[in-house]
């Protein structure tokens, strides 16, 4: 009966469930790849600003995170999950959020905790409740509070701003712009905040680099813009409110609030982690706003000068709750239970 030039070889025809067409541009690996690409300018700028320390912290964090991931995969007898890139992203984000002078041992410990406790203890990729990088950082904050708040000016700073700099010393300890504003009412100029020429965590200082990478991340849909916009929006509202209440002199200023501390890195890279944020679009708005509000509450009223890490972890904690409240209702209303089996529904175009 087979007259065709190439008789159809039956065993070759595989059975599978529809759909048989997938969005080639939407894969886990591609999302992770885009996040890594987006992190490139941030990492590069941090190396340019902080030189040796940036290289040291980044390499240690990445090395330990990858080793930990590999070891845990082996222990759990799972397929090696390094190719999905998530451990690498965690390591880079952790490194970018650490102070440049942090001792090597602490960096390693932080990376280990981030991957082992922050992610793998929950069951690996997609299972963790909290952002792994922030778990690692919180652990370090608890263990080494002094080292974690020891800031230095970038190596590339030509002239030290407050005159205490000894030209022979290559790392200058200094207060972060937020701490300076909060505790001694010294305000950093915006230009330094944008280029990153201020004291702070490795990857948090340069607004330009973060926004550049972050826009790529959002444009490629590797992160949801609603999270970013929600967080930046809430911080903006807080900043404007501060200006109105405390006046131009005492307030830190809108752009300064946005571009200092961990807000930008947090808004573009930390809260956009899909795993630890709500599922629905509405939920993601809520999450972004929530984190932004907590950041401003900590900045304006609490003892710490900065609070992105706490805000994100708190947000992660309430994510299941947000999910519960914001899951969409079906078009046409909820299913009526119990219902008649209606296989004979009308005509759905194939």
């Amino acid at each position: 009966m087979t007259l065709s030039p190439e008789p159809i070889d039956r065993p070759q025809l595989a059975a599978a469930t529809a759909p048989h067409l997938m969005d080639a541009g939407s894969t886990t690996r591609r999302m992770m790849g885009d996040v890594l690409l987006a992190l490139l300018p941030v990492v590069a700028t941090s190396i340019w600003l902080f030189r040796g320390n940036a290289v040291r912290v980044t390499l240690l964090s990445v090395g330990v995170a990858l080793l930990t991931e590999a070891a845990v995969c082996r222990m759990r007898r799972r397929k090696l999950s390094l190719p999905d890139g998530s451990a690498l992203i965690t390591a880079l984000l952790l490194a970018m959020s650490l102070p440049p002078e942090l001792p090597s041992f602490s960096v390693c410990l932080g990376a280990f905790v981030a991957v082992a406790l922050g992610k793998q203890a929950f069951g690996g990729l997609g299972q963790n409740l909290f952002n792994p990088a922030m778990v690692g950082r919180a652990f370090l904050m608890a263990c080494f509070p002094a080292a974690m708040t020891q800031w230095t000016l970038p190596v590339s700073t030509p002239v030290a701003t407050d005159g205490v700099a000894d030209s022979a010393v290559d790392a200058v300890s200094a207060a972060t712009p937020l701490a300076a504003a909060k505790f001694s009412h010294q305000f950093t100029d915006l230009e330094s905040l944008l280029t990153g020429n201020v004291a702070g965590s490795l990857g948090e200082t340069s607004a330009i680099a973060i926004v550049l990478g972050g826009l790529w991340l959002l444009l490629r849909r590797a992160g949801d813009w609603r999270l970013t916009l929600g967080m930046l929006g809430a911080v903006s509202i807080g900043a404007v409110a501060e200006l109105l209440l405390r006046g131009r002199e005492a307030g830190f200023g809108w752009l300064s609030h946005l571009s200092s501390g961990g807000v930008l890195l947090g808004a573009f890279f930390i809260v956009t982690d899909p795993v630890t944020t709500p599922l629905s679009a509405r939920g993601r708005w809520c999450f972004g706003l929530f984190v932004g509000i907590i950041v401003m509450v900590i900045r304006l009223f609490a003892g710490y000068p900065e609070g992105v890490m706490f805000a994100v972890l708190l947000g992660n904690a309430v994510t299941p709750l947000i999910n519960r409240w914001t899951l969409p209702t079906p078009v046409g209303g909820p299913v009526v239970l119990p219902r008649q089996p209606t296989s004979e529904e009308g005509e759905a175009d194939a």
Binding site: S4, A18, P19, H20, D23, P334
Partner: protein
């Protein structure tokens, strides 16, 4: 409401969410409908529709003509007549695999002698769809006669669900039909059969729609076509322009616009109740191919013996829009298109988004088979499955506003109650969620499995 709508850039009717898969329609969209050479054997399944199988009324060795009844609709509830699609001799009833994976009894018919049959008088396509449709004939057709003709001809929905059309058009005083929505949205990638029908035989579609309107008593007809089929829309407009209460609506091109639960909100801004039917809104939906079949049945006495099938995909040598006798095996249809290439991997009944894989090519074309898509190895996605990264893309694309990852994972972990809380039963299996899922979770597979389990637990 998206940003385009807000800025007035997108004035076409649209529904929320959904996806934009690559269309892949260029292989066949400009190929005129061809008629398959009459096959030696056709196998007419007694179950080609939603509901109960028809009862066989043909005797072995009986000689039948094309269009002769071989299966009478079952007296119990929902069912439809089936007819011989070629003239020939009836063979012993056998069981055949259906394109959707089920099995059915079927009546094989062997062609008498090559070329010697009644169809030689006029080409099948002309007989079914061509020529002029006399206005006087339409005017004298009475609603009940139309319904009877439709039922006798065994007409069922040709868009996929294959629900008997006469039952759909039957109105009751309690639930009148206000609007007849004719669905010309062929949203499934690769397929162009409806597009070609609308372009080549718009008069048949328009006539059938008007007859259906008469039968159900609707006050207006809305015929919806996506804006990727401008030729079809123009042809229909030309064919229907002079009739009052007949509106052609161009809607935006998005998958799954052809689903009635998407099309109705897009066109009328009203949602079909999840556990209800379009009838609850006073709307009856028929597909354009069904409309054309109604015209042939009522005005020319043609039973549903043929359908237009798009044979396409990178795995088939010469893709075509083919007019095929019902009951022709997939094997024969594919051979009629030059056979497959060496790296053909999957044969689908339908298109890639909702089509079923066919592994046994003796399966016959049924009334609901709108396309045969043969995918080559290169057309099959090769991204590996990872854990769900909770990105929410499945929620962002689900046209019904469900949380697919929730449903699928509830089914996966055996929590049927949780799956139901997340509206398992509402899912129309359109596949948007799985299309977009970066982790390649087989969401639809889980959801289908969940529905099967639900049905089993309900029957216990």
């Amino acid at each position: 409401m998206n940003w385009r709508t807000i800025f007035g850039l997108n004035v076409l009717p649209d529904f929320a969410r959904g996806v934009h898969p690559p269309e892949h329609k260029s292989r066949t969209r400009d190929l005129p409908i061809e008629t398959l050479t009459e096959p030696e054997v056709v196998t007419i399944p007694l179950l080609q529709h939603a509901g109960a199988a028809a009862e066989c009324v043909a005797q072995p060795r009986q000689q039948v003509t094309a269009g002769e009844l071989v299966g009478r609709r079952s007296a119990s509830g929902i069912s439809a007549n089936v007819h011989a699609s070629i003239a020939g001799v009836v063979q012993a009833v056998t069981a055949v695999p259906l394109p959707n994976g089920r099995r059915s009894l079927a009546v094989p018919i062997r062609r008498l002698a090559p070329g010697e049959d009644s169809n030689a008088v006029a080409p099948v396509a002309d007989r079914l769809f061509g020529g002029v449709w006399a206005e006087s004939d339409i005017a004298v057709a009475r609603p009940l006669d139309i319904l009877h003709a439709v039922a006798d001809a065994g007409i069922v929905g040709m868009g996929g669900a294959a629900f008997p059309t006469d039952l759909k058009l039957r109105t009751t005083p309690e639930r009148p039909i206000e609007t007849l929505l004719v669905n010309g949205c062929e949203c499934e990638p690769f397929l162009t059969a409806d597009d070609r029908l609308m372009r080549e035989y718009p008069a048949a579609v328009v006539t059938g729609a008007r007859l259906a309107q008469k039968a159900c008593g609707a006050r207006q007809i809305v015929l919806a076509v996506e804006n990727n089929k401008p030729e079809a829309a123009a042809a229909l407009l030309a064919a229907s322009g002079q009739f009052a209460g007949f509106r052609i609506t161009v809607v935006s091109t998005k998958y799954p616009m052809g689903g009635e639960r998407q099309l109705i909100p897009a066109v009328f801004r009203r949602e079909v109740p999840t556990s209800g039917l379009p009838l609850d809104l006073g709307i009856a939906v028929i597909n354009v191919a069904t409309a054309a079949a109604i015209a042939g049945a009522v005005l020319r006495g043609q039973a549903m013996t043929h359908r237009i099938v798009t044979v396409t995909g990178g795995g088939v040598r010469s893709p075509k829009n083919l007019l095929v006798p019902i009951g022709t095996s997939f094997q024969t249809v594919i051979e009629g298109c030059g056979g497959v290439v060496t790296d053909a991997r999957r044969v689908l009944a339908g298109g890639p988004m909702m089509g079923f894989t066919v592994t046994d090519l003796t399966a016959p074309v049924t009334k609901g088979t709108g396309g045969i898509t043969v995918l080559s190895a290169a057309e099959i996605d090769s991204a590996e499955q990872t854990a769900c990264i909770r990105c929410g893309r499945c929620l962002d694309t689900c046209p019904l506003g469900l949380a697919p990852t929730r449903i699928a994972h509830a089914v996966k972990f055996g929590d049927l109650a949780l799956a139901q809380q997340n509206h398992l039963a509402a899912c129309c299996e359109c596949g948007c969620c799985a299309y977009e899922c970066p982790a390649r979770i087989p969401l639809v597979q889980y959801i289908r499995a969940g529905k099967v389990e639900l049905a089993q637990s309900a029957s216990e």
